[in-house]
């Protein structure tokens, strides 16, 4: 059982940003962001993480949690 989880939905709710808006800002498709949100992704690129942090004005630790 993987203990690293993506808390993208929490950060998105805090920043009041929709998946569509985030997808346009980050340059990653809706489907791929949804996969990430559902913790289905096998890995995340630094470039994607960088773009997410920039778009959501947060730290990588806000998005990725170890539980």
């Amino acid at each position: 059982m993987m203990k690293i989880t993506i808390q993208l939905d929490v950060v998105m709710a805090q920043k009041k940003m929709s998946l569509k808006e985030l997808s346009e800002l980050v340059g990653v498709s809706n489907v791929n962001l949804s996969i990430l949100k559902q913790n289905k992704a096998k890995a995340i690129r630094f470039s994607t993480l960088d773009a997410l942090c920039k778009a959501l004005d947060c730290q990588p630790g806000d998005i990725i949690k170890y539980q």
Binding site: V28, V31, N32, L33, S34, I35, L36, K40, A41, K42, A43, I44, R45, T48
Partner: protein
Amino acid sequence: MRDAKNLIMLTAIICFAAWFAGNDFQLPKPVFYALILGVPIIYLIRIVLSRNTKYKKVFTSKFQWLFSKKHSEIIFDLDVHNAFYIISNLAHENPKITLVDTDKKNKVILYSSKANWLTWGSSIYLSLSPIDDSKTNVIVDIVSFQTYNWGENEKLLELIVQTIQNELVI
């Protein structure tokens, strides 16, 4: 490249047929007409049918002994709709395959691979079916349009599996 090779093959068949005719070759007439007309017609039909997902069964049937085939199944850790989207965009990640046709209703995707000196190119049929809300079964059928393949189908299967796995790196 594959179309060019097909055209060369077709021209060669017609030239051979014309040469046999010109040299008064002693073939029985029905056999001669079957060769001169039948082979190019079958060849053309094969080219047309292999570009549509509807005719998948024609090429992947177990009774189809003219072409070499490779069958495999992968379980993809995504729901069928997202898996269909991801798998129908594989060509962006891999220049060795080209998207030919998709059937959204029956969840079938058809790719073709490029021809090289070992192969005329293959058709890759990917059929998706849901296992549950978060898992999809992907059936991969690779059909090479030659009776014997030189390990190209196995390489293609490996490439497809690898590309699908890489799609889950966001």
